[in-house]
Amino acid sequence: MLKAIVIDDEQYARDELIALIAEQKEVEIEVIASCNNAIEGLKKVNQLKPDLIFLDIQMPQITGIEMLGMLDPETMPKVIFVTAFDEYALQAFEDNAFDYILKPVEPCRLRKTLQRVKYKMQQDNYQVLTDKPLSLIPCAGFNRYLLLKPSEIEIAYSDQSGVHIISQQADKSVAETSCSLSLKILEEKTELLRCHRQYLINPNMIREIRLLDNSLAEIVTAGGAVAPVSRRYLKMLKDRFQLH
């Protein structure tokens, strides 16, 4: 039994796809969630760890392909792209033998695709689609979505409850939100630098690097937030800013 999530911004499209998946008998699939945008999708994927996602390309704010870039390649579920018409994306899918289905969905095409997914064991490498830097970082605040520009972020850190982002707001004060992207993705696809196993820092937001005992240090950001610097990363920071 494969666990799947359907991510599409149109209600009827989700309904139709879920119905078609339920109708076919060859591959046993349970749709454990359906989401109406990529931000919601990201959250659910991280939360529910599905085996498979059905991903629409054209969605508000963050497209399906952008969302793919925000997933950790190591825990990436299998992806079936669903699109009505997108010449460029289709070309990319064809060239890289990714799985995709076209809207309106043909039941037999869906069946074939699912069979292929079931027997194809190795992970697809989506790098061709996802190696662009991120332009918006989806975050969830209290009862709202936030889409941060990477340049607005001061510090990103992780603890038991997940990844948190301290960002500068329009009035220069800082606010904290939680983010469904991993530190690793943030480090790879934004300008953020690692300064601690659990901390990333925006180099453009550093105001002060305070050196402490034991070759430790801490960074004070423009907004006044503080991030610890571990021994291992202090050297790299010094190299980067040529502080010798």
Binding site: E10, E16, P60, F85, K103, P104
Partner: protein, 561 residues
């Protein structure tokens, strides 16, 4: 009596000179009254010469000279105005004074005042706006009559001794009055003839050119092809009366009318080396059959004996083809047709350029409209079908309605050739489109309409409002996570219809100076401007993240009841 004849004899030599001079371009300025400095200077020089000449041709009598000097002075004044008249008179007078005699002072004064008199008459007619009268020989005769009487009086008054002066006047008064008046009248009539010939020539030249221009206008606008050039060649042939007219493009004969049409066949390649040379170098070639040999390159027995080949120049002096005028062997090229030829080439070049421009414009608009219609298609269509297939499962009746709306929308899109529709029809089209989109984005799109009823019968170009609504959804509300709202409104302000499509996304903010729009919107704007004028059309405004507003303005048309 004897004096009259000998004076008239001198006068004829004088007039022959005047006649000869009238054949030269020097004379041209005299035939028109322009008041320009160059014209005045020409008047002064020519008439001063005649004035001096008049003195030399005079007959010495009793220590004085019977002469025709007054003609130069008075004519100078008449044609050049008071300043020129005075100057001519003074020049002639000083010259006469230098020759001495007992009437030298009297003659100098009288010649100067004669010039001035001519000038005053000139001024009188100019002020009255009766310019043509100045060229009347009869007027010249009268003025000279008065001038001579005046001169005699001055001699009597000034010359010393009085007895001698009286005797002189008795002898010369009659001959001089007659000779001078006649001479002036004849001189003026020479000028008048010259003027008439010149005007007739230019009038017939311009009328020919204008007739050709008028008759050929618009013919080439539907393309530079054999059929159209044939018509133009026919017109030029009829109007110029040359032996034959031909129009070629860069490679072949497009049209040939007139002598030799039996073997100069339209559609055949150019064989004449003159024509090839004209095309190659973009230069005019006149093979008059004498200086530059001319022989028809197709048939030796061809009757054509001379050709004028003028290249038709397009943009950047690129040669588009040639126009050729021919005359048969026994006939000479009239100089008028020679110069007319060049003008014709210019005229045709412009017409060809214009036709190409128009052609491209039409093509462009057609292509743009097709593109606009095609732009609608794939993404919208497949999503719509996908939505419908889901709706079929849940609510077959609703699905049936959606299919109706979809077909209505596409049927309307397929009507390529309708230029304008009523606002009501355009709104129907939008409703058909929106039914589909509302089904797709059922949970996050609202559209409100408020259109003034009086506007519903107004005509707008097809695809005016629908692209704006589509744009608001595609680039606006569909990028929002929730609660997209579009307001479509229409109102009348100061007899101007204002239609607005406003969304709450605010995603259409571009750089301040570059009001660059998508192709679809550009076409909407262009079509509105084409229909209603430059001051109307589409304007966009946007507040980032808050709202985008598309506004259309065009004049309200009262309905004819």
């Amino acid at each position: 009596m004897e004096l009259i004849f000998s004076l008239l004899q001198q006068l004829s030599v004088y007039l022959v000179l005047a006649y000869l001079l009238s054949k030269t371009p020097l004379f041209m300025p005299l035939t028109m009254l322009s008041g320009r400095l160059s014209h005045r200077l020409a008047c002064y020089i020519i008439f001063s010469l005649f004035c001096v000449l008049g003195t030399y041709f005079g007959l010495a009598i009793e220590n004085a000279i019977a002469n025709t000097r007054a003609i130069g002075a008075v004519m100078g004044g008449l044609l050049g105005g008071p300043v020129v008249g005075f100057a001519v008179g003074l020049t002639g007078g000083i010259h006469r004074y230098s020759m001495g005699g007992f009437t030298d002072v009297a003659c100098a004064i009288s010649t100067t005042s004669e010039g001035l008199l001519g000038g005053l008459v000139h001024l009188y007619y100019m002020r009255r706006g009766l310019v043509e009268r100045i060229f009347n020989p009869f007027l010249a005769l009268l003025v000279l009559l008065v001038a001579e009487v005046m001169q005699m009086s001055i001699i009597l008054l000034v010359a010393e001794p009085y007895e001698q002066a009286l005797a002189l006047v008795k002898t010369i008064a009659l001959p001089m009055i007659i000779a001078n008046s006649l001479g002036a009248a004849l001189f003026m009539s020479i000028i008048q003839d010259r003027k008439t010939i010149y005007e007739k020539y230019s009038a017939s030249f311009s009328s020919k050119a204008l007739t050709i221009a008028e008759r050929t206008v618009g013919i080439l606008s539907s393309g530079f092809n054999q059929e159209n050039t044939q018509k133009v060649a026919q017109i030029i042939y009829e109007e110029t009366g040359v032996g034959a007219v031909s129009i070629t493009d860069r490679n072949k004969i497009m049209a040939f009318i007139g002598t030799g049409a039996d073997h100069h066949l339209p559609g055949t390649l150019i064989s004449s080396s003159h024509t090839k040379q004209a095309i190659e170098n973009g230069e005019l070639i006149f093979a008059d059959g004498y200086e530059v040999a001319y022989q028809c390159s197709i048939k030796n027995s061809c009757k054509l004996g001379a050709a004028l080949i003028i290249p038709l120049l397009g943009s950047e002096d690129q040669v588009l083809g040639t126009i050729k005028l021919y005359e048969p062997k026994q006939k000479l090229f009239s100089s008028m047709n020679l110069s007319l030829g060049e003008g014709l080439a210019k005229l045709l070049s412009n017409q060809i350029l214009n036709s190409r421009y128009l052609e491209q414009q039409t093509l462009l608009t057609q292509a743009e409209l097709r593109l606009l219609q095609a732009q609608v298609n794939p993404h919208f269509l497949f999503n719509a079908l996908n939505t419908i297939s889901a709706v079929i499962r849940q609510d077959p009746d609703k699905a049936r309605q959606l299919i109706q709306h979809l077909s209505q929308f596409f049927r309307r899109n397929l009507k390529h050739n309708i230029e304008s529709v009523t606002l009501q029809d355009e709104l129907k089209h939008i409703h058909a489109y929106l039914e589909i989109e509302l089904a797709r984005f059922s949970d996050r799109l609202t559209v409100n309409f408020s259109i003034d009823e009086t506007l519903l019968t107004q005509y707008v170009p097809t695809f005016t409002l629908q692209p704006l609504v589509e744009n608001a959804i595609k680039h606006g509300t569909s990028t929002q996570l929730e609660n997209g709202v579009i307001d479509v409104s229409g109102c009348l302000q100061n007899n101007i219809v204002i239609l607005k499509v406003v969304d709450n996304a605010g995603t259409y903010c571009l750089g301040d100076n570059e009001m660059q729009q998508g192709l679809g919107l550009q076409i909407v704007d262009k079509r509105l401007k084409n229909s209603f004028g430059e001051q109307y059309g589409l304007s966009m405004s946007c507040e980032q993240g808050v709202t985008t507003s598309a506004q259309i303005k065009f004049p309200f048309k009262e309905e004819l009841s």
